[in-house]
Symmetry: C2
Subunit: 399 residues, 2 copies
């Protein structure tokens, strides 16, 4: 992939595979996945650097605006997130009325779509109107609201599942602190807040994946940002996209301890079954997100009483790696392998895993659709028709 880095002009000749493999949507300065090297960059900063030093708020700002904020810019951004982050009154019954066993991603999609009805400016985005007197283009103002409110409704959905009253954000907490507070009813401890912040940073953007692509396609008809993010949530809901960490966790839990990994793995290999959470369509080296998460998972699991589960996961990684090496192959865990473990240790029920993913990824979705807006062209590939064109209607009694 790197061979295309920065060198392309439309129209261009490409080799196209199934699933639009090889097709190019646009040029971007937002994020870069180097699959060969196992590296991920947001706006030119390595993911390791951002996870080590940054916060999710800074990273969301970076993705949307292109630069890390100054102290004044960050204060302004935080103020907007806080103000916009209140749960609109009409959303309360909508979220509370959903059956408790409803998939939270369906509820999230429905709620985010409904948020459009509570924002008088939502439609202005569709007309790409900016007020020259305003500090920010209106579409960017709306994007900040979408980011804050998607987080708030995600937290409300988690609360409603527990049958507890919905909460509003607190003015003394940041984006991540408020997300945890509104889910759990109490502000997070430092370890929890920090690990959650890292998780959100790690999932904030990842190239032209299927949900990001969905957002790009939907917004390219100049649809509003709420419709756009709701559509992307619909994509992320699919088990091939946002559901793998649930399955990886279920596997690790089913093993029952590090001592059982050997027979479990032997059985899997004999039966030719896939080991969930290993390998990646893009990363040929170690997934950099998995490396960061593994470190946090170790500390967190020790702290929260899930040490045996972490040791089981680590043993799976070691023994899968060794078995593959013996077969002349290299294989590494991907982000899903450790993120499910981390979310479990943080106390989240598995159906909420993709919801957290959606909250994090909203920053990347928004950044990418806003970047495409000034050069917008509606996405319209084509299907190749292979059927007949010469059939004639036959009355129903003669069929």
């Amino acid at each position: 992939m790197a061979k295309f880095l920065g060198k392309i002009e439309f129209p261009c000749t490409i080799e196209l595979g199934r699933g639009l493999e090889g097709a190019i949507t646009n040029l971007t300065k937002i994020g870069y996945v180097d699959g060969q090297a196992g590296a991920l960059f947001y706006r030119g900063y390595s993911i390791e650097d951002l996870c080590e030093h940054g916060t999710y708020e800074e990273v969301a700002y970076l993705l949307i605006f292109g630069e890390l904020p100054t102290a004044a810019q960050l204060t302004d951004f935080q103020g907007k997130l806080r103000k916009a982050g209140e749960l609109p009154e009409p959303l309360v019954p909508l979220i509370q009325a959903k059956p408790k066993d409803a998939h939270p991603m369906n509820v999230l999609q429905s709620a985010v779509a409904a948020l459009a009805c509570c924002d008088p400016d939502s439609d202005k985005v569709t007309q790409h109107v900016s007020d020259p007197a305003a500090a920010l283009p209106i579409e960017t103002e709306v994007a900040i609201r979408v980011l804050a409110r998607t987080r708030t409704v995600a937290a409300a959905i988690a609360r409603a599942r527990q049958g507890k009253p919905l909460l509003q954000p607190r003015s003394d907490l940041d984006f991540t602190g408020n997300y945890l507070y509104m889910m759990n009813g109490k502000p997070p401890d430092d370890v929890t807040r920090r690990v959650m912040d890292v998780c959100l940073i790690l999932q904030a953007d990842h190239g032209m994946n299927s949900s990001t692509f969905t957002a790009m396609v939907v917004h390219s008809s100049l649809s509003d940002l709420y419709s756009t993010i709701a559509a992307a949530i619909g994509s992320l809901r699919g088990p091939l996209h946002g559901g793998a960490n649930e399955a990886a966790l279920a596997d690790i839990q089913s093993i029952g301890g590090p001592q059982n990994v050997k027979p479990w793995l032997e059985k899997r290999l004999i039966e030719g079954q896939k080991i969930i959470g290993f390998g990646h369509r893009v990363y040929k080296a170690y997934d950099p997100r998995a490396k960061i998460l593994k470190k946090h998972a170790e500390v967190l699991c020790r702290e929260k009483g899930f040490d045996s589960l972490y040791q089981t996961a680590a043993a799976v990684e070691d023994q899968v790696g060794a078995a593959m090496k013996a077969a002349g192959r290299q294989i590494y865990p991907n982000v899903d392998f450790y993120s499910g473990l981390v979310y479990h240790a943080l106390g989240f029920p598995t159906p909420l895993f993709p919801v957290i993913f959606a909250v994090a990824r909203t920053a990347g979705w928004l950044a990418r659709v806003l970047e495409y807006l000034p050069e917008n062209r509606i996405f319209r590939p084509r299907a190749v028709y292979t059927g007949p064109t010469d059939r004639t209607y036959v009355p129903i009694d003669q069929r």
Copy 2:
């Protein structure tokens, strides 16, 4: 385009433009747009033939199953649509709580996403599970429910906007009859039902447009069909896609009568303004849908007291055509030019136009995602990164 007809294998070499122009999503037997000839086929039947002889129910069946139904198959399909078409109880407050000035497409997206929570089988689609003992694969059963329920919530949204109580479908009416009944509170007269049926047939499918493509992308992560259709609705909501007939109608209304067309057009041409409702990215000949609609618009407008409006539109078509011919070009009205007029004469407020479009297109969206399912590969094109990869985090007080 026709040169690719039936002759392609992946991987293939293509010329790619912006907006994925030239990219090929898949091979299909569902529909074919022949832009050069101005022809549209569903499953090999011409749109003229289907509009002349068929009903929307038959056409929806044809798109999804590939063949026109026998009498027994149609009876079974109608029974399923009727049974599934009841408005689920939890949707009533969701639809009634929305502000009256909310864009009905946002409400529709939210409501369709919420429908997933009322269907215990919605998730089975995501696992592509079929019961061998069942007459139909479960995903097709769910698709029929999605089709019927999207129609029902669309009607409920129209009712709620008028502040009237929501209605359930009647067992003596078909799909289109019930749609009109649930919107208007009384069964339609024959002319209305017939014209509406033709409108729904005409908008049921149209190649790989942006909303259909959205549905394909979302479902390719094996997301459920409600999430998928909700996402497509988000795309159709964009003014570049589902909004053009509103604008075309507003133009025709603003002229004030056929006698005013000449000065209106002269002013437009002098100012170099676009004439909305003319020309099409795919059709280089007369849009076959516009031709059919024009005929119905003439009869309907005469019947319903909008004859002057129809005469104005017809005069715009004639004079725009003559002006372009004088300039050595050929230009024709597209489907949007006459569909807004027809919907207006049928008594629908303009914000509902894209909702009707969505109800019709749901058949095409479903047919195309179900066709892709057995050969599913997640859509994952890529963006080309043109930014730096060597930036280093700077503490906030040093920025």
